[in-house]
Symmetry: C2
């Protein structure tokens, strides 16, 4: 167990309090990060339907998943044997039956068939068909939106969680150093990506690392004009921009970071953008503290870049932490106009003002946690354009 | 472009024919592998809502996604500029608006507001909320199940696709060799995982590799009693079982394989299971040929293990190929009772009769493609229990 039982119990209590606020008798938790947060469950089994059923009036949720994954729940969670429900294999990717038929039966049997049930409506792993089968199996139940309930509980990290994120930050420093060190004209992009992966997983002499919820994003040249392309078979050329959005991960907790490399001298456009963005990033990191709203951080950024030629229409950051593919973001706080979330100590934010124009990209970011008085970064990597 | 335009056009034609059979005027394709298959689109952007809108009466689909990813569509797809629609950033993870509001508007504007629309109802990236917003925006449309339409078109691979899968197979041989070679008592599991990743991405001297849709699954000891746990911080011990479900990946095409290692001598239980499973696997691989049904393969397996102490209740294999996290499986063919799919040349199947009891696990699999007369494997790795 990665956390004390008392910590899991506090998380459950907070979640049940949030359920009560929304008038929910049951919450079905599908997000693998939320499942892990509440029970410790950790396995690459989210490619089949699985989840937790939380009851307003019970301490323990019920884990449901494929039969062959149920020993994974026994090994990685604090749940009792009678709270682990493995469904039979013929429910997997069937043309006739669906795992949520089993979930509906379970809820019916427990006497909650006409109660109010929250579901994570916009989670990757809660498909349109899941809701259809639930509604069919529970025609008298009320279905409410339970999305992000647990995500918001996750928003403020405990000291133990921050500790894992700091370990991820230590790994990240090695990962970023590896990439910057190895990129050279003539080297295959995939060979650098391979060493980046190795650094991410081998970690430090004290602890190894885990897979990241997002692959190393490391496009070059023309491919830097967009946010989510990565390495190819080709070799780096001279005078080429390479974006690096990389991370360390420990026990599913992330520390992400972006930097930019150029294999040559930056032209005036890149030089101007890099200076403006780094200055803006510095100002934002100095500005972050408890008590301010998320939107104010973006305003500070906009004040900083005012008068420059940098245009930035997308959000400049988001909450992150514990996660599984496809995202390390928590889908709660966004640094953009209209986000009124008030920062608290223990919140963790990736300040990521990425720039992608039709001719080039530039990225320089910081992952920070809010302290009592300001914020601290998870890693120490110079904020600069790396010239190779 | 990884394939000729004519190949993409054939894929579109087959898909539109399948749409016609189901009476669909429009198909919204959300599965990232299906998007890639039809247009070439390839980016780690599926953590926000994106997709393709296919029209029964038009050659080109419309790509929709986040604005900052639209240059990714320009770079990686064959679509014309007016078939790429980037939505504004404030739609991302918003509490008030949703990207499928934009999709509904698009369909309305194109005059399809009261037509029949297929959606991939059980795809990871088509959430319950996506359907809610579509229905709200298109109150007069009919919504039908369009799940797996493209997956079934993908089922038979072209020679060019098989070529990429064979490249993945070459990478896989190096990946598996790396794992088997480096596992030793005293070595950290994470350090072997790191080298596995490096082998997977650095590929061969001729070509590098890509990230796999499933992480390296490599549990040890007690953790082998379930299907989807992986490495930890700990060091391998003597007399410990280690499962290896690994892969090579090239241009998103996979070649997966499972093997088992023991750091010591197998006890009689493991020895018996391994012999039974390998014999069953051999028989199944010899048996696979065009014209038989998927269920018959499972029957052949069951005949082979009859009389042994091996119990296997879950499916023994599935179709695989082009994919993105969280699965390299295609969710079409399953080797199990009731699957009447008739095998054709070019179909690709991972025969994976994994055994997970309450005390141990054993895995030995083969990834094959169906030929005119039988089947061939994608890699040559001895079918044995590896004793270290």
């Amino acid at each position: 167990m990665l956390f004390k039982l008392s910590e899991y119990c506090r998380r459950m209590e907070k979640t049940r309090a949030a359920m009560a606020e929304k008038g929910l008798d049951i919450l079905i938790v599908t997000d693998p990060a939320n499942m892990n947060y509440l029970t410790g469950y950790d396995g690459w089994s989210f490619y089949v339907h699985q989840g937790l059923v939380l009851f307003q009036d019970r301490d323990q949720p019920i884990w449901f998943g494929r039969q062959q994954d149920s020993n994974g729940a026994r090994i990685t969670t604090w749940l009792d044997e009678d709270h682990i429900l493995g469904y039979e294999d013929h429910y997997v990717q069937s043309r006739t039956v669906h795992p949520y038929d089993v979930v509906a039966d379970l809820i019916q049997q427990k006497g909650f068939g006409s109660k109010k049930i929250g579901v994570e409506k916009d989670n990757y792993y809660f498909t349109a068909r899941c809701l259809e089968h639930l509604k069919k199996g529970l025609p008298n139940a009320g279905f409410l939106d339970g999305e992000l309930i647990v995500n918001w509980v996750r928003c403020v990290k405990s000291p133990s969680e921050l500790n894992y994120m700091k370990m991820a930050g230590q790994i990240l420093e090695r990962v970023m150093d590896t990439a910057v060190r190895l990129i050279e004209p003539g080297v295959r992009e995939g060979d650098v990506a391979a060493e980046v992966y190795r650094a991410m997983i081998s970690g430090t002499p004290e602890f190894t690392g885990d897979y990241s919820a997002i692959i190393p994003i490391m496009p070059s040249g023309k491919r830097t004009t967009t946010a989510h392309l990565s390495w190819t078979d080709r070799r780096y050329k001279k005078n080429e921009i390479i974006l690096l959005e990389l991370s360390g991960c420990k026990h599913r907790y992330h520390a992400p970071l972006s930097r930019t490399v150029i294999t040559g001298r930056p032209d005036p456009e890149l030089d101007g953008i890099s200076k403006t963005v780094i200055q803006g990033l510095n100002r934002v990191v100095d500005f972050i503290r408890p008590g301010i709203q998320a939107r104010e951080i973006e305003e500070e950024w906009r004040r900083s870049i005012a008068g420059s030629r940098v245009v930035k229409e997308s959000r400049i950051g988001y909450a992150f932490g514990l996660n599984y593919p496809p995202d390390w973001g928590e889908h709660t706080i966004s640094l953009r106009p209209g986000d009124l979330t008030v920062l608290e100590p223990g919140m963790t934010i990736h300040v990521m003002p990425g720039i992608w124009t039709d001719t080039l990209g530039f990225e320089c970011s910081e992952a920070v946690y809010v302290t009592e008085t300001g914020c601290e970064t998870f890693s120490r990597v110079p904020r600069q354009l790396f010239i190779k």
